[in-house]
């Protein structure tokens, strides 16, 4: 089709450089080109948030952003949030409080929650419900997701205090 464009980006701390069609969507780049399959596709209309990634501290739905718009971006996906040796408190809390069932929304949900806790380290339940409203879950009814995020916030704040 059209001419390819030159893209440079950092994904989970790793520099990436490639040629892509301007119409390529970021979620496609991540999943198909870079084999980063944590972010999922649920709606392709920005409603469900299964594809949520963080770009420059902001939550972005990768299913409706062209890779051309992400040229030069610093992107974090669930894979960059924590792994077996350095679990993020949210990853621990979601397991501890049964904040997931089928797991399909979970990468986007945790990625969004991590950005939310950066924006607001002490959210109320209401602020969590409002701040997470862009991420849909069909299994949990959200109650345990809210509980998980509250628990992770407390954990993060406690370890910050301990470090001071």
């Amino acid at each position: 089709m059209s001419d390819k464009i030159h893209i440079k980006m950092t994904v989970n701390g790793k520099p990436e450089e490639f040629l892509a069609e301007p119409r390529e969507l970021l979620i496609y780049t991540l999943r198909e080109r870079l084999n980063i399959t944590g972010p999922h596709i649920g709606c392709e209309t920005s409603h469900c948030g299964a594809c949520t990634v963080t770009i420059g501290g902001k939550s972005v739905k990768a299913c409706t952003m062209f890779v051309a718009q992400a040229d030069g971006a610093d992107i974090t996906t669930i894979e960059g949030i924590g792994g077996p040796d350095d679990l993020h408190p949210l990853q621990t809390a979601f397991k501890e409080h049964h904040g997931l069932q089928c797991g399909y929304c979970t990468p986007g949900m945790i990625t969004r929650a991590a950005a939310l806790l950066e924006e607001n380290p002490n959210p109320t339940e209401e602020e969590i419900r409002f701040g997470m409203a862009g991420n849909l879950c069909r299994c949990t009814g959200y109650q345990n997701i809210v509980k998980s995020i509250l628990a992770a916030a407390a954990e993060i704040n406690a370890s910050k205090e301990a470090a001071q």
Binding site: T37, H40, I41, G42, C43, H47, C48, H98, L100, P107
Partner: protein
């Protein structure tokens, strides 16, 4: 050797039944390492996608694929003409009908599959789809089943014989060319007589709208035909992988041992992923044609428009009672809109599923049910969206009829329920429509629920609110939604339950390793229910090895024993029973090994938590870990080496979970916005395996109930256009709309299930829908509301208020 660990500690170490064990699935999901079908990548894999019709009813004049084939990256475009020589242009449905795989001369619903474009990637496939030229000739569209039964327009010419004769369908005679079946249960004339002679009769018509399970992950598959070895591997979002293997074998002619079906991680199912869809067949054919693996993944619009709608029941009821409120009879007629093909996913002998559970939790001596299935120009499906076959419709029907009868009798609806409940001592209870309810204690559950919410206090508050509203002090009304439901799950006994002739048993195979760990494989497949966690708990309690030492594996037909899969809350009632029974076979052999090692007679040892002990001498024992090793390293006379077992469990009956729900809602009369103040849910699912997971299932089921009752629908316009094809229009609640739920329980174990468990995943959806709906309707009862149809979105609630003159 003196045992220093206490018995309680030994029990706790097992993490067996009854404990809130954390889920073993969560590590991979929270780290983005799940393996869903769209994550599968194979060398040279192609991508297939459909050309779909924009028309709901049209003849296909021509299909031109020439330009599409010129697109770089497009390898093939399949049409019905390509599939016909293979006999694959049509496929059998689960309901005994047949369905076009690709449009054969005409289309019957918007979004129907017309051609399959196979390309190197999704973008090339999309470009190819744009360039396939299809010429249509529009035909009259029928989206109303009542109109369909009057119309001269024939939707399915393939089902009309010579001279316009109507051959019988899979479920008997058809009365019109757009009629599919009539299904009856109960006694027609005696019921009519009871109603004719009753002191009080309440009548109501209600429409349970069409909706969709809409799991977050859509349907999809990867088909890979290995031409060297003659083996087909099919990965997919299958809720019933073994049945899919059999179906693929039957329709493709590939021998079943040469087909391997794998369900990887599944991102929610809720009934959407039970059926067999054209995408599966086309992917298999495309893989055979191209010699490469082919992936097909629905987008959200494909999903909502074409695979697996739910509900769409027009129900009319009459309920008869004495003036004191004792129900004497119930009549129900359903006009069921099945769309263009009858692809409902029900056991073969039940074309309307278990709709004949519609007498609910009540002792109703006489009843009659009649269901007419009808073809229209809407998508096929008719799946059980988070419920056992049509139970959601049945429970909604009876719980609305009870409310309407309460209005007719000018009686409190909680009291009306109480005086009609089946009594504890009546179980096992045979209902007028035939089912034998295994167990229940409804009065205890109801009293506990009403007490927990202070029902009397709520009614007093509501009366005050009405007075304040009438005095102009508030514009908010208060609704108290009640529901008491009985589910019928765990399909089912092979004597009356099969799908395509396959009995609905299920299975478990256990292999104990020498060091005392184990693997168990089942015929079911988790889609978020946490089987890997809970089935290990059942086994831990049965065989005395820690749940943490037991791997549970499902979904690979090359390794797992045959089973009918996971839907209709059947995993715990059927496969859970098989697991317990296989565990007991392991234990029986372990007992013989222990007796040999302890040098006593088999009957002189007994099982205790994690070991066999010599009766009367608890210091003499062999742990299950020791026994496992002995099974592999000792030559024991008369006993084969190894420690394995398999069980295929044919349940003697269904299980009947029940529950009592109360919803308290404030409604803004001027905006129609409901505010769910409180939701109390008491569930009785029999023996509780993992309370944490049960609670999670209840939260999720209630939220899907909230969605369906308060806004979620698949709506069509008169031209057959789907008006709710994206998540912009199709309501999925967010964290913002959903309340915190209060959960509670009673425990009435199933008498026929090996561990007394009944299943829980779907109960909250089944009981929740009428509860939310009743809350809305109850708010308007003091102003003359009798019944309004769901979904109660803001506009419809506003309209109800408006029609009752509350804006005057």
């Amino acid at each position: 050797m003196k045992d220093e660990v206490t018995r309680d500690e030994r029990v706790a170490n097992l993490k067996g039944m009854g404990c809130s064990r954390k889920r073993v699935e969560d590590a991979r999901f929270t780290q983005g390492k799940g393996n869903y079908v769209d994550d599968i990548k194979l060398d040279g894999m192609l991508f297939g996608d459909f050309v779909r019709t924009p028309y709901a009813h049209a003849r296909i004049v021509s299909i031109n694929t020439e330009e599409a084939l010129k697109v770089p990256g497009v390898l093939a475009v399949l049409t019905a003409a390509d599939l016909e020589p293979l006999g694959l242009h049509w496929m059998p449905t689960l309901a005994g009908d047949k369905q076009m795989v690709l449009a054969d001369g005409k289309v019957l619903f918007q979004g129907q599959e017309v051609a399959f474009v196979v390309a190197e990637d999704r973008y090339a496939a999309a470009d190819g789809i744009e360039l396939v030229e299809v010429e249509y000739e529009e035909l009259p569209v029928i989206v109303d089943p009542f109109e369909a039964l009057q119309s001269d327009v024939v939707l399915r010419e393939d089902l009309v014989g010579e001279g316009g004769t109507l051959p019988d369908g899979a479920h008997g005679p058809r009365k019109h060319h757009n009629h599919i079946f009539r299904w009856e249960a109960g006694d027609r004339d005696p019921t009519a007589q009871v109603i004719a002679e009753a002191e009080v009769v309440a009548e109501e018509s209600m429409y349970y709208h069409r909706t969709h399970p809409c799991p977050l992950e859509t349907c999809g598959c990867v088909a890979s035909m290995d031409k060297v070895n003659g083996k087909l591997t099919l990965w997919g979002t299958f809720q019933a992988p073994h049945a899919i293997r059999t179906v693929v074998s039957l329709i493709s002619g590939i021998e079943e041992h040469n087909i391997r079906v794998i369900s990887p991680d599944i991102g929610g199912g809720f009934g959407n992923k039970v059926g067999a869809y054209p995408g599966y067949v086309c992917s298999v054919v495309a893989s055979i044609v191209t010699g490469k693996p082919v992936k097909w993944i629905e987008d959200r619009m494909d999903n909502l428009m074409t695979t697996a709608f739910a509900r769409d029941y027009h129900m009319t009821g009459k309920i008869a009672a004495t003036r004191e409120g004792k129900i004497t009879g119930l009549q129900c007629h359903v006009t069921a809109d099945h769309g263009g093909f009858d692809a409902c996913a029900d056991p073969t002998k039940f074309p309307a599923g278990f709709m004949n559970i519609c007498t609910g939790s009540y002792d109703i001596p006489t009843a009659y049910l009649e269901v007419d299935g009808v073809y229209t120009n809407k998508a096929p499906g008719g799946v059980s969206y988070r419920c056992s076959f049509r139970v959601t419709e049945a429970v909604y029907f009876i719980e609305r009829m009870i409310e309407v009868l309460a209005i007719e009798l000018n009686m409190d609806a909680a009291e009306l329920r109480r005086i009609n409940f089946i009594k504890k001592e009546q179980f096992p209870y045979t209902a007028a429509l035939g089912w034998e309810y295994d167990s229940g204690d409804y009065h205890t559950a109801w009293d506990k629920a009403l007490k927990a919410v202070d029902y009397e206090g709520l009614r007093a508050e509501q009366a005050q609110r009405v007075a304040d509203f009438k005095a102009g002090k508030t514009r908010s009304l208060m609704g108290i939604g009640l529901s008491f439901f009985t589910e019928i799950v765990g399909a089912g006994p092979v004597k009356n339950c099969d799908i395509l002739g396959l009995g609905m048993f299920d299975s478990c195979e256990i292999r104990i390793h020498p060091t005392g760990s184990a693997i168990a494989r089942l015929g079911t497949i988790s889609q978020g229910q946490g089987h890997a966690t809970t089935f290990a708990q059942i086994l831990a309690s049965e065989i005395g090895l820690p749940a943490d030492s037991i791997t549970i594996e499902e979904g690979d037909t090359d390794t797992a024993p045959y089973g009918l899969g996971t839907y209709g809350s059947r995993s715990t009632p059927v496969a859970g029973a098989a697991t317990a029974m296989a565990g007991r076979k392991i234990r029986a052999k372990a007992q013989m090994i222990a007796a040999y090692l302890l040098e006593v007679h088999d009957n002189d040892v007994e099982f205790d938590v994690d070991r066999f002990v010599v009766k009367g001498a608890p210091e003499k024992f062999k742990t299950m870990k020791e026994i496992a090793f002995a099974a592999y390293n000792q030559a024991i006379p008369g006993i084969e080496p190894g420690l394995e077992a398999v069980s295929y469990y044919d349940p003697p009956n269904m299980t009947y979970p029940f529950g009592a729900y109360v919803c308290v809602m404030d409604i803004d009369v001027d905006t129609g916005v409901p505010d769910i103040r409180r939701f109390y849910a008491l569930d009785d699912c029999g023996t509780r395996i993992n309370p944490m997971i049960i609670e999670g299932q209840v939260h999720g089921g209630l939220t899907e109930a909230l969605a369906v009752s308060l806004g979620q629908e698949i709506a069509y316009d008169d031209m057959g256009n789907v008006k709710t094809g994206t998540l912009m229009d199709f309501f999925l609640p967010t964290a913002w709309e959903v309340p915190n739920y209060e959960t509670d329980h009673t425990v009435t174990p199933s008498p026929h299930h090996p561990i007394g468990a009944k299943g829980v995943g779907e109960s909250p959806h089944v009981g929740g829908v009428p509860c939310f709906s009743n809350a809305v309707q109850d708010a308007f009862r003091p102003f003359g509301n009798r019944h309004t149809n769901m979904p109660h979105d803001h506009w419809r609630i506003w309209k109800t208020a408006h029609d009752l003159g509350l804006h005057d």
